[in-house]
Subunit: 246 residues, 6 copies
C-alpha cells in the first residue's frame, strides 16, 4: 500500500526529481506516503544554461533562481520535506566526499525509506557524468546504511530497501531499460504544472510531457489496462522479491 | 491476489515444470489460483537417460514411465488440469508446427491466463536447445493469441498477459537473470515430494532442493524479510506495469 | 547526395514503413532519390485490430481497407514504386519461403539499392516476432544478392549496400540503439498526413508524432544544429565506412 | 596431451576450416591427434566469387574447382579423414534437415570427438548467415549425440565433449571474443601453404596470414611466452572444467 | 603442474578468500604450490554484522574476533603466508591510496605469482561496492607490476600472470560468468571446516557448502568426469593462451 | 568537408595518437583541417619498456627519448600544434586532477573542435587502465566545456562536438566495436614512417601496419569501394546525427 511507504528521492540537480519522477512523487504523497527529497546540487554549472544567458548572471543569481523554481515545483508536487545540499556540479564527483557520504548515510537512517529513487545505475548516462556519479554514490550509501558496522551515533542500521533508477534523457544510448512502469494519470496535471516552474527549460517541458504519453502507451500495451494514460518508468536495482508474481 | 489468478504453465519436457516452478505452482493452487499445465513432450529422447539405462527400455516403456512420474508429481502439487501433447523432443523445434501453434493459441484463449510460465527467452540455454525453441514459440503464440485478426472460431482474443521464464540448469552460462524471486516456504515440502517422483534423476532432486535454499537466501537478502526460507526465481518477459513500485 | 541514391524499403506490414521511416522516405523522394517499397503483408492478422472490430469484417474487407489506407499514405509520401506481396502474417516466418527469398533477391538485384531500410536486426522486438523474422530474412537476402554464385538469370550481382533498421515500438525493451538520427523537419507535415491515413490506429498517430519531436530533440542535442525540429532514427547494420569521420 | 585427442571439425564451406583452424588442425595431426573434417558445402553459391568470374563457369566447374583446392589444402595440413557433404549454400539453413541432423549425430558418435571445432555460436556473424546456422546446428547435434534417448543403431551415446568456435571474418562486429589462443608457430608454414591452394581468394591469404601474426602478438602478451610467433583463436562454448586453473 | 605454481590471493575482507576460493587454495597447497594471501581489511564495518550484535562490541573487539576466525580458517586450509593490511572498509575505495598501490605492486613483485585470485572484474557486484573497487585495484596493480618503468628498488618487473575472479554472492545479478570450474573434491572437507570458523555467518556456511555441490554438478555436466563432486568457479580476466585447446 | 574541420586529439601516452589515429590525422592535415594534439603523458612508466632496458636509463633519459621520438613522428604526420602535458602515468588517474580538468576544458574552448579523438569509452581496455581513465576524463571535459555555467574567463562555451574512440590493442577483449572505418590509403606511407620513429617498439610497428591492412579489407567489404587499401577504425561516442543516412 502506497500510504505506508517511506520514500527517499536523491536528485543530482535542481530539477531532475521533477522531470523524472514528479508524477510518482505526487502520487505517493497524494496517497499518504512519506516522501523526502534531497537535492544534491542546484545544477548551477551544468543545468542552468538559460539562466546564464541572462544579462549579468552570477553564481548567486543563478542559485537564487534555481532555488526559487525548484521550491515552487516541490510545493506543487506536495513535497514537504526537501533539502538542498548545494554541492558544486559539473563535475560533482569530486564533491561526493566521505563527509557527504556520512551525511547521506545519516539521512537514509533517519528517513528509513522503503524505496529510494535516484539516477539509473544499470546503464551509463551518455550525456551527464554527474548522474552516473550520483547513482553509484547513492547505491553505495544505501548498502553502507544497511550495514551494522557502519556506526552513526543515535541512528540505527536500516534494512535492505528497494532502489529504482530515473530515466536518463537519451534512454537507448544510455542503456536504460524500464524495469517498472508506473501509472501517473491521476497526478499528471500536477506534474505538468510542476514542470512549468522551469520556464527557462521549455523544451524539456514538452519533452517530458510527451514522454509521459509514451510511457502511458507502454503501460496500456503491457498491462492491458486502458485507463492508464500517462506514465513514468524506472529501472530496478534489484529483482522483485516477494510472495507472488507481479 | 493469487486466488483470482489464472495461470498457464508450458513445459518443454515432462519434469521441467516441477524442477523450475513446482513451488510457485503449488503455492498458487493452495491459495485458490486456477492453474493449467501443458507438457509439450515427455522428454523421451532428451531427458530420460536413466530410464534408457534400464534393460530392454523402449520408447513405449520410457513414455509410460515418464507419464507415471509426472502424473504423480502433478498430483502432489495439486494440479488438476494437465495435458500431455506428446511431441517428439531432441530436437523439438521441427515439431512446433503451424498445427501445434494453432493448438497452443486455442489453449491460451481457452484458459485466458493472467500469467504464463515457460522457459526463459531473455537468455539462451547453454545446454538445451529445446528450451530455447519452446520459449520463443510460447512467446509468439501469446502475442498471436492477443491479436484480434488471428481468428479461432468460438474463442475470443485474449488481453496481454504476463510471461515469466524458468531458471535454466546453468543459469550464468545461459544469461539467465532473475527478474522476480518468489517465496515458496509454505509449500516447500510439497515441491520436494513432487521432485522425488523423478527418482531416476536423483542428482537433480538435490540440485533443485539446494537451489530453493539459494533463492531463499537471495529473497531474504533483497527483501529484508527473514521469514523467507525457500524460493524460486523467474525472468520477466516484460517490465512490471502498474500502479505502484513493487 | 540524396538525389543519386536508390533506396529499397522492406516493410513487414502495411503501415510499418510509414510510422518508422515515412519522413526519411518523403525527404529522399523530395530530393530526387529513387525509392522502392515492398510491403510483405497487409498485417491482416496482426496489425488490424481496429478493422476487425467493425461489424462483419472479413479477411477480404480488412485487406481492402489496409490496401486503401497504405496506398493513400504512399501517395502522400510521394512513393511511386510500391509492391504488396500479400503474405500471411502473425506468424510471417513460415511464409518467408525459398520462393519468396528468390523473389526478394531478384527485387534487390533489379532495384540495385544503395540503401535498404527494414526492421532492426541488432536488437529483438519485444512484442512483434514478425519484425524479427523479416529483419533476419532481408539481411540474408541482401548478403545473397551480393554473391556472384547466387544466380538469377538476367540480373547481375549487386554490390554491398548499406542496411538500416527501423525503430521498434518499445525501443529500450527491444534493445534498439539509434545509429543514425535523420532530420525530417522539411517533410514532417507530409509524414503526419500520411500517418493520418491510418485513422483506425489513432493512438499510433500521436505516438509517432511525438516520437518525431523526441528524435528532433536528440538531433539538436547531438549535432548542435538548432534548426532540426523533427527526426527519425535507425540502427546501422554495419559501421560507417568512408573517407572521413561523420 | 594432444596425441590422445580425437577432433571433429565441421566447416560450413570449402575453405573455412583452413582459414580459421588450419594451424590448429596441422598441429594436432603432427602431434598424433585423430582429426576428422566434415565440409558441409563447397560454398558454390556464397564463397566462390572468383571462380564465377571465369568464362563459362557452371555449378559443376565451380564444384570441381573447390573440391580440388580444398583436397590439396587438406593434404598439406595432413588431414586423412575428410568428407564433403555437398549441401547447397547461401542459404544453407533450409538444407540442414532432420536427415542431415541424423547424419551428423551418427558422425559424432562414430568419431567420438574430445573436441569439436566449428563456427562461433557466442556471437553472430555480421556477414555470413550460413556460419550462424551451422554453429547452431552443430551445437544441437552435439547435445543430441550425448543423449542416450537419441538412438542410432549400433552407435553408442557420446560423452560431453568440448566445443570451440572459429573466428569470423569481422570479429568485433560479429561479437566474437577469443576464449582460447593457440600457438601455431611450428606449423605456420604448413598453414600458409594450405591457404595458398585457394589462389582465387588471394586477399584472404594475406588477411589470415596477418591475423596469425596478430594472434601471435596477443599470445605473447597474455602468456608472457615470447616463443609464440603465430596463433589462432577460438571462442569457448563452455567454461574450462577441470583439475586446475589454466 | 600445480606444484610449480605461485599463487597470490587478494581478498577484500576477512573471509572472502575462504568462501570463494578456499577449496582451490587448499588444493594448490596440498599439491605443493606456493600460496600467499593478502587480506586487505577485516571487514569490520561491512562484513561483521553478527559480531556487532554482541553486547559491548567495539572496533577493537570485532577486529580481534575477525582476526582470530580468519587465522584459524587459514591454518585449516594450510596457508602459511597471510598478511592482514587492516584497511577500513565500507567503503574501501578511499583507502586504496597510492601508498597501498605501491605496497601491492611490491607484494606482487615479491611473490611473483603465476596466478592472482581476487574479486571479479568482468561483472559488477550488485551488493558489495568494495568488491568492485578491489577487483579494479588489483587488476591495475598487476598491470603496473608488469611494467618495467614502474620502479621498485630491489624488486624486478614481473611477467604477465593470469588473473581469476571470485564468484560474488549473487552471481547472475552481478553478471558473473564462470570461466573456469575447478574440482575441489579432495579438499572439500577442509573447506567446510575452514568455513566453520566463521560461526557468526552460519547462513553463509550452508550457502557456500551448497554452492560447492552446484559447481560440482556443473563440472560433471561439462567435463563428463563423474568423479568431480564439489567445485569452485572463477571468471577469467584473460583468455586461455597456450599450446593446446583445454 | 575535411578542410573546414577543427580536430582535437587527446592521447594518453606519447605514441597512442600515432598507432591509433596517425593516418586519419595525416589525412585531415593534408586536406587542410586544423589539427591539435595533446599528449597527456610521455608514458614513461607504462609504455617505455624498451627504453628502460638501456643501460643507465633514468626518468630524464626516457622522457628525452620519448619526446624526441614523438616530436619526429608528429612532424612526419604534419602536426603543427602539439602539447606535452607531462603527467605521470601508470597510473594516470590520480593525476587527472581538477586543475588538469580546468586546463583541458580551456584547451577545448580554445581549439573549439568539431571532432575530438581520444581513447574508447564504449568498451573497457583489457590491458591499459590509463586508457580507460583518459577516455572517461576527456568525455567529461567535453560535456563540461559545452556547458555555459562552467565559466572560463575569456573563453566561450563550445557547442556539442563529435567524439570518436581509438582502437585499443586487443579489440575484442576490450569490447571495442568499430563505429566508423576511415580510408587512409593516400597517407599510409606517412603513417608507416611516423610509426618507425618508435623503433624501440618494433613489434607494434608491424602490428599496426597489419591492422591498417585489416581495416582496409573491412572498408572494401563494407563499402564496396575497392580503392580503399588501408584503414583506421574508431568507435562513436554518439550516433550519426544529420541530414541523410551515411
Amino acid at each position: 500500500m502506497i500510504k505506508d511507504k517511506k520514500v527517499l528521492v536523491v536528485s543530482a540537480h535542481a530539477a531532475d526529481y521533477v522531470w523524472r519522477s514528479g508524477g510518482t512523487i505526487a502520487k505517493y504523497i497524494k496517497h499518504g506516503a512519506d516522501v523526502h527529497v534531497v537535492v544534491l546540487s542546484f545544477g548551477i554549472r551544468g543545468e542552468s544554461a538559460a539562466q546564464w544567458k541572462k544579462e549579468g548572471a552570477t553564481y548567486e543569481s543563478v542559485r537564487e533562481n534555481r532555488l526559487e523554481e525548484t521550491t515552487k515545483a516541490a510545493e506543487i508536487l506536495g513535497i514537504k520535506n526537501i533539502e538542498f545540499w548545494d554541492l558544486p556540479d559539473y563535475p560533482m564527483a569530486p564533491y561526493l566526499t566521505e563527509e557527504i557520504r556520512d551525511r547521506l548515510i545519516r539521512k537514509i537512517r533517519t528517513v528509513r525509506p522503503d524505496i529510494i529513487l535516484t539516477h539509473d545505475r544499470n546503464g551509463k548516462d551518455i550525456l551527464n557524468p554527474d548522474h552516473n556519479a550520483v547513482a553509484e554514490f547513492v547505491f553505495e550509501c544505501s548498502i553502507q546504511a544497511n550495514s551494522r558496522g557502519v556506526i552513526t551515533e543515535g541512528l540505527a542500521t536500516t534494512k535492505q530497501m528497494r532502489l529504482f533508477g530515473f530515466e536518463p534523457h537519451q534512454t537507448e544510448l544510455s542503456q536504460f531499460v524500464p524495469g517498472e512502469l508506473i501509472d501517473i494519470t491521476e497526478v499528471y496535471e500536477q506534474k505538468v504544472q510542476a514542470m512549468q516552474c522551469f520556464q527557462a527549460q521549455h523544451h524539456l517541458i514538452q519533452y517530458y510531457t510527451e514522454r509521459a504519453n509514451l510511457r502511458g502507451n507502454h503501460l496500456r500495451r503491457i498491462s492491458g489496462n486502458q485507463s492508464y494514460k500517462y506514465g513514468e518508468s524506472f529501472s530496478n536495482f534489484f529483482p522483485v522479491a516477494g510472495e507472488e508474481l507481479v
